[in-house]
């Protein structure tokens, strides 16, 4: 009978597999769990920091190859698992304690497609297996109810007067649109906006979430200030279209997050180009590569370029975003790729930051 292989030998062999985002080997990262050895048959779990990991299949393959090379191994089975990494405040703070990562999606400029991008990213993350919530912070022009086909739905509350988010397409949703009807305009000054957003952040029963995406209104005003002061955001994603008029405001959003110490996960260029379905010609309607320009300026990664696709508009208006309505389309694939990039950047940021989980001090006076 062949000599049985040891757990240590397997771990040593797996050290050659590196996570390209975290830039470390999977063994020292603690990803390898539950190693089982049954003579020549080896099985273990590969526990990643996000189910949306863009390189999970490569990592799995790398593991299988590394272990299979060991003498005496006849069969390798790797099971992909995930345990979403969280901000240091997870479980420690009073604001959104059950949310591992709170990610703001912002633009500076209005009309660049923030809500569309946020909705599709949320669904792409959810499709990967993560628990996702989406908070529509646009008080004056909420779009999320339309995009998820839940216009006119009303919210319920718990016995202790907390708001229960709506469930649609497998994710938890909250929007001011669920509290007012479509034809009523919310005409409020700053302090009211501040109050409602604070309620959305502190009085909602979100349950445990891996990612809560905040769809921010355009600008750097009341809503943004309230959010960045009330919750310890894990990161921010900036959306821009390629032309200079949009880039100017995107820079302002970047500077705002930098000032309040929120890590910028990256920039997404929306409406990057239009690929004609008939002739295949690519038209760069708003120019292209603008996001790269500010990415270089501020040393922030570009998470992806989303094309102009009439189906994005149709599916959004019909209440089922394209990632769910046409999952095999190129646009849906691009969205899944970007969601993976966002999740990967989030994991890297969580790994490198080691800040205080709580800053609260009760003063003792003699």
């Amino acid at each position: 009978m062949a000599q049985s292989i040891s757990e240590q030998e397997i771990l040593n062999a797996l050290k050659v597999v590196k996570d390209p985002d975290l830039n470390r080997d999977i063994v020292s990262l603690g990803f390898v769990k539950k190693i089982k050895i049954d003579q020549g048959k080896v099985s273990f779990d590969l526990e990643l920091t996000t189910p949306a990991c863009p390189v999970k299949e490569e990592l799995k393959k790398g593991c299988e190859e590394a272990v299979r090379k060991l003498p005496g191994v006849s069969h390798v089975a790797v099971e992909l698992k995930s345990h979403v990494s969280s901000r240091p405040q997870f479980g420690q703070t009073t604001v959104l304690p059950q949310v591992r990562n709170v990610i703001a999606v912002a633009s500076g400029k209005g009309g660049v497609g923030k809500s569309t991008v946020t909705a599709n990213l949320a669904l792409a993350l959810s499709d990967s297996g993560a628990k996702v919530g989406l908070l529509d912070c646009d008080i004056y022009g909420p779009s999320i109810p339309t995009m998820f086909g839940v216009r006119g739905k009303k919210l319920e509350s718990t016995v202790d007067q907390k708001i229960l988010p709506l469930k649609a397409c497998g994710i938890s949703l909250l929007s001011i649109g669920f509290l007012s009807d479509d034809k009523t305009a919310v005409i409020w000054r700053g302090p009211m906006v501040h109050q409602i957003i604070q309620q959305f952040l502190t009085r909602v029963e979100w349950g445990e979430l891996d990612y809560l995406l905040l769809d921010l209104p355009p600008g750097t005003g009341d809503a943004q200030l309230t959010i960045t002061q009330t919750v310890a955001l894990s990161g921010a994603v900036i959306i821009t279209t390629p032309q200079e008029v949009s880039l100017i405001d995107a820079r302002k959003a970047l500077v705002m997050f930098e000032k309040v110490k929120v890590p910028i996960l990256g920039i997404i260029e929306n409406m990057s180009y239009f690929g004609c379905a008939k002739c295949g010609e690519v038209a760069e309607i708003f120019k292209r590569g603008g996001a790269q320009k500010i990415g270089d300026e501020y040393k922030v990664p570009i998470l992806g370029e989303i094309p102009i696709d009439p189906h994005i508009v149709v599916t959004g208006d019909d209440g089922l975003p394209i990632v769910r309505a046409e999952p095999d389309s190129l646009t849906a694939k691009i969205y899944r790729m970007i969601a993976g990039a966002v999740a990967a950047r989030m994991s890297v940021s969580n790994l490198t930051l080691s800040e205080a989980a709580s800053l609260n001090v009760q003063w003792q006076n003699k």
Binding site: V262, V300, E355, W363
Partner: protein, 111 residues
């Protein structure tokens, strides 16, 4: 956009009866005399937002002023609720680090 580790807080704590302590990620520790911190409150009521002129009357701040509670503001600062009912000031980590009163930091600031 690199994170500045000298502005990342590892811990906020009460350092004795009259001092607030901050331990930074780079290992440095700062200790702030609390009345001095109250007098330097950066809020719009205490400092004119346009001119930067100090509006606070030092004589009106009680000698034994002290924090009641300290809480985090997002991930960039703290808010102190004071015994004289003042509570609008946000002390950003950037501000706190640049106002570290220790000998080494204040010498660096002068140079």
């Amino acid at each position: 956009m690199a994170e500045q580790i000298n502005e990342v807080v590892e811990k906020i704590f009460q350092a004795g009866e009259r001092a607030l302590g901050v331990r930074w990620k780079d290992g440095h520790e700062s200790s702030y005399e609390i009345r001095d911190l109250r007098l330097k409150c950066p809020c719009a009521t205490c400092v004119d937002e346009w001119t930067g002129e100090k509006r606070i009357n030092e004589k009106q701040i009680p000698a034994d002023v002290h924090p009641i509670q300290i809480e985090g503001v997002g991930r960039y600062g703290i808010r102190i609720r004071w015994s004289d009912s003042h509570a609008t000031g946000i002390y950003t980590f950037e501000w706190l680090r640049s106002h570290c009163p220790c000998g080494r930091c204040s010498r660096q600031l002068k140079n």
